[in-house]
């Protein structure tokens, strides 16, 4: 059997397909790269060996993907080349299948090449999985996922905090993840992949931050109305800073003297706040909401929804459900004075 003559030509349709494919390829590399340094919590801007390992795996797969995509789309385009076909449609009878040719296409393109590529991916997967398997660490922190915030318990150090995970740089950290409500997922893209927090079981996640700094995390499993607003940060500190943070957070705050602050404390302890919040050294012992003992030292309010300063805190207290729809903290009727006193007290808790 002789090969039919091929007359490659570039029809406009073919060119448009080609342009589109080219654009797609260009956008993926550049766009993903541009994520670094743009303030994004990008998985491709790793700051731990764990995240770096995954990012490298991605880059390997991306290179393979681009090569395969270009090759295969190229073949599709070549197969579309116009031939000198009979202009009379009715005589355009279908050709016989050439078994040898179709078998060659299928065995090489559909079987051999995928097996090689998939084997590379499989080996890379196994090796990365093994590297990430170790979940032992010097620093153990319990993370209880709540609707819609994070309770942090440093059991060895007697510290309870919320939404701001302080860890020392260069030390392996293990987060022990539990939930007594719905499923959540802990995800700090720059430090490691995500691990679900599943009620009824304890999962573990580990990372070793390589650089001091603040890394944004967010709940990644749909957990209800407040899901989008359930963020947190990992604050990576030098060992000395970390130790002094621990010490400060272990201490019981001194009794207030400023009359505004005293008034705020009375409101909190005697009002409904105390039903859900702890302030060590006072009668506020509710554990449903975040521990407020060192609230003033935290950087944000309501799981990263507002920066922690008096104006924003006042807004949070007066417009809780507007700031964070679905928050389980009810809207409490407060006078302007009440708000001012509470703000003064809470910001004094350092």
């Amino acid at each position: 059997m002789t090969r039919r003559s091929r007359e490659p030509s570039s029809g406009p349709v073919r060119a448009r397909f080609g342009t589109l494919a080219g654009l797609l390829i260009a956008v993926v590399g550049i766009g993903a790269l541009a994520g670094c340094g743009s303030g994004s919590p990008s998985a491709l801007d790793p700051h731990s060996p764990q995240a770096r390992r995954i990012a490298n795996l991605f880059w390997l797969m991306l290179v393979l993907a681009i090569v395969i995509y270009l090759l295969v789309v190229g073949m599709v385009l070549i197969s579309l080349r116009t031939r000198g076909s009979d202009p009379d449609a009715h005589s355009d009878s279908p050709g016989p299948e050439r078994r040898s040719l179709s078998n060659r296409f299928i065995v090489i393109g559909g079987l051999a090449i995928p097996i090689v590529v998939l084997s590379v991916v499989a080996v890379a997967t196994v090796s990365a999985t093994k590297a990430l398997e170790n979940r032992e660490g010097a620093i153990q922190i319990r993370v209880d996922a709540e609707q819609y915030w994070w309770r942090l318990i440093y059991e060895q150090d007697g510290v309870v905090s919320a939404n701001e995970i302080h860890v020392p740089v260069g030390k392996p950290v293990v987060l022990t993840l539990t939930s007594d409500n719905v499923i959540h997922s802990v995800w700090v893209p720059q430090l490691n992949g995500k691990v679900d927090v599943v009620p009824g079981q304890t999962n573990r996640m580990s990372f070793t931050a390589q650089q001091t700094g603040t890394y944004r995390g967010q709940c990644a499993e749909f957990c209800g109305i407040g899901h989008a607003l359930m963020a947190f940060v990992v604050v990576v500190q030098s060992d000395a800073d970390y130790q002094s943070w621990l010490a400060a957070n272990r201490a019981t705050p001194a009794a207030p003297t400023d009359p505004n602050v005293v008034a705020g404390q009375r409101l909190l302890v005697e009002g409904s706040c105390a039903g859900c919040h702890v302030v060590a050294g006072t009668a506020a012992t509710g554990t449903f909401g975040p521990d407020l003992t060192h609230f003033g030292s935290r950087g944000s309010i309501a799981a990263l929804q507002l920066p922690n300063d008096p104006d924003h805190l006042a807004r949070w207290l007066a417009h809780t459900q507007d700031v964070k729809p679905g928050a389980l903290m009810p809207q409490i009727d407060l006078t302007q004075d009440d708000v001012d006193h509470l703000v003064a007290y809470l910001e004094s808790l350092r």
Binding site: P41, V73, I108, N181, P199, G200, N203, R216, F222, P325
Partner: protein, 639 residues
């Protein structure tokens, strides 16, 4: 070159035959028809209605997400929107629209006068319609499901979703599952027993193979979804604790059950879409499909392997790594059958002379989109990368490339390809080209940036995000693309209505097709074939000219094959791999019984939803009455 082989309609239907197959008139006719073509058209029309509704829901979400901290909708509404978008697209569009094409085309492609169980077929449609209405009533009463289309426990339990919202979902998917399962059984029996004499299994059109694969997957997978949702509803309505940790239940049990259905479901949708591509590419390449045996085997392989990959939806839940490895490997292996099909298509075009008519354009769009979705699928099957990508926009991008790109594009191609057969009118090729290019551009502009958003840390299912995270402009681009894509689909919708009035006559075979549906008129007469085709080739219309037709003999095996069989509402029953004549079966006359039974079941579900025993009672009585009548009636009844 828009028309290839258009000729006049050729099927001659004598008055006796027409009378034997006549439908009742008017409204009664509407409720009593059991004709697979009418049922198929209704399936397609109803599914497309839901497609456009769910598309509008998506556009509202894209408007909300176009800018950071936007206030178009709040989280309550947004959660309803994405829950209903997913639920609608999976249960009320993708699955039933493929069932619709299958319903319409399957008997025609195998030379039968109807499916094996026409009344069951009508029943299946009514259930689908009622389930769709049932689920959408939730919007009317302002209580749409809001726990995600996957309804993970404990969030979907009574404790965290106390409203009636998730009951609409839980009962709704059980409800619609009846339709899917019944339809699948019908497909399997139809293909196994109702093929015209001579259509050996290795001569079946690939689209039919894909429907059989789909049907078997449905039969094994959908009951598991029914269990998952059934136990959820038992927990919700009757206070059992199947999924409640601390009371002996397990949260992950739900996820295992859900994804044991959920991943095969992806292939339930995808398989017929590839079958459509395997039907379109050879016709428009003027070339027999390369590697028929390879492709058919791939479909069967996919159907099997798809049951071994479900845990890849759960890589981040803390399943032990060694166990995950198996599922990771299976997820990689399932790529191979798809690769085989892919190169069969390339080989077909390579050898043929491709013509870029609208159906072919959509098939080509499928090729470039599915390739990307398949590649990103390989990426997420690698566990460590999945830990970063899962539950982010990267996955949203991935599965829209597969479920929107690689399923919807073939479905649109199928519309341009087969709608002329169904209506007798050609769609405008010019509008088709506009629709295709706008959809292709809009699709990529909308969904491609989502890969990058996911890598940049944007989780799924968030109703808003703060500025400064590097997500702003990408979201804006994605939203604009979504609008463009919607416009492209709208052009085809317009085209469909336009063609009813202005479309050129299609004739028997406007595209020069190879399979039996092109051997009869467009639209086909109620009896499909006055005398059934006798097939001895994989491509009967290309190889058998003239196509031999059956002659009614005195024996029951052959009685149905000719004119006499058509007069007696018969269709041939064949046996074995080679479809040897076995007997003749009578196609049931129009009846409202399937409608009554489906309505009874609808009452039962509404009764369960609102805990009204009376409503349930009415439903049970009506359903039992319908069933009794169904059983009473023999198949030789005459109108």
């Amino acid at each position: 070159m828009s028309l290839l082989f258009r000729g006049p309609n050729s099927e001659i239907v004598p008055a006796e035959v027409e009378h034997a197959w006549s439908e009742r008139h008017g409204l009664i006719g509407f409720f009593t028809s059991v004709d697979h073509k009418r049922v198929g058209m209704r399936y397609i029309a109803t599914s497309f209605f839901f497609f456009f509704v769910a598309g509008l829901l998506a556009l509202v979400m894209r408007v909300q997400l176009a800018k950071p901290d936007a206030g178009v909708v709040g989280p309550e509404v947004f959660n309803q929107l994405f829950t209903m978008h997913g639920t609608t697209m999976i249960f009320l569009f993708n699955t039933p629209v493929l069932a619709g094409f299958g319903n319409y085309l399957l008997p025609l492609m195998i030379g039968a006068r109807d499916v094996a169980f026409p009344r069951l077929n009508a029943f299946s449609y009514w259930i689908f319609l009622f389930a769709g209405i049932f689920i959408y009533i939730s919007f009317v009463v302002g209580k749409a499901p809001d726990g995600g289309w996957f309804a993970y426990v404990p969030l979907s339990d009574k404790a965290y979703s106390p409203g009636i919202n998730m009951d609409f979902w839980g009962l709704g998917v059980i409800f619609v599952g009846i339709s899917t399962t019944v339809g699948a059984v019908n497909f399997v029996v139809t293909v196994f027993k109702m093929r015209a004499p001579g259509i050996a299994v290795n001569q079946l059109p690939i689209f039919v193979w894909s429907l059989v694969g789909m049907a078997f997957m449905i039969i094994f997978a959908v009951p598991v979804l029914t269990v998952a949702a059934g136990l959820l509803e038992a927990d919700r309505l009757f206070g059992t604790a199947f999924y409640v940790p601390g009371r002996g239940g397990s949260v992950l049990l739900y996820q295992h059950l859900f994804w044991f259905w959920g991943h095969p479901e992806v292939y339930i949708l995808f398989l017929p879409a590839t079958g459509m591509v395997s039907a379109i590419i050879p016709v428009f390449s003027r070339q027999r499909l390369a590697g028929y045996i390879w492709v058919a085997s791939s479909l069967v392989a996919v159907a099997f392997i798809s049951f071994g990959v479900w845990v890849h939806h759960m890589f981040a839940t803390g399943v032990p790594a060694a166990a995950m490895g198996v599922f990771s490997a299976a997820s990689l292996i399932i790529v191979i059958p798809s690769g085989i099909q892919y190169f069969a298509w390339i080989g077909t075009m390579w050898e043929g002379r491709p013509r870029l008519e609208p159906p072919m354009l959509f098939a080509l769009g499928f090729l470039v989109i599915f390739l990307l979705g398949g590649i990103s699928g390989v990426m997420v099957s690698s566990m460590p990368f999945d830990w970063q990508a899962t539950d982010t926009y990267f996955v949203v991008a991935h599965f829209h490339y597969v479920l929107n790109g690689a399923v919807v594009f073939p479905i649109f191609g199928a519309l341009y390809f087969w709608l002329p057969k169904m209506t007798g009118k050609m769609l405008s090729a010019r509008l088709g080209r506009w629709s295709f290019w706008i959809m292709l551009i809009g699709f990529n502009v909308s969904f491609f940036p989502m890969h990058i958003l996911g890598l940049r840390g944007m989780p799924r299912r968030i109703f808003t995000y703060h500025p400064g995270l590097g997500w702003d402009w990408l979201n804006m681009v994605a939203s604009i693309g979504g609008g463009v894509f919607g416009l492209g689909t709208g052009i085809t919708l317009f085209n469909i209505f336009w063609s009813r009035k202005h479309g050129a006559e299609a004739g028997d075979d406007p595209w020069g097709g190879d399979t039996l549906e092109w051997a009869t008129s467009s639209p086909p007469p109620d009896n499909n074939f006055t005398a059934v085709p006798i097939v001895s080739s994989r491509h009967p219309l290309w190889d058998q000219d003239p196509l031999p037709r059956g002659v009614s003999g005195p024996a029951p095996e052959t009685e149905s094959q000719g004119l006499l069989g058509a007069e007696r509402r018969q269709t041939p029953v064949t046996a074995g791999l080679d479809a040897l004549s076995e007997t003749s079966s009578t196609v049931p006359v129009p009846t409202a019984v399937p409608f009554v039974l489906a309505l009874g079941i609808a009452f039962v579900f509404v009764g369960l939803l609102v805990s009204a025993k009376l409503v349930m009672g009415i439903g049970i009585v009506a359903g039992m009455a319908g069933l009794t009548r169904w059983a009473w009636r023999t198949e030789v009844d005459r109108p």
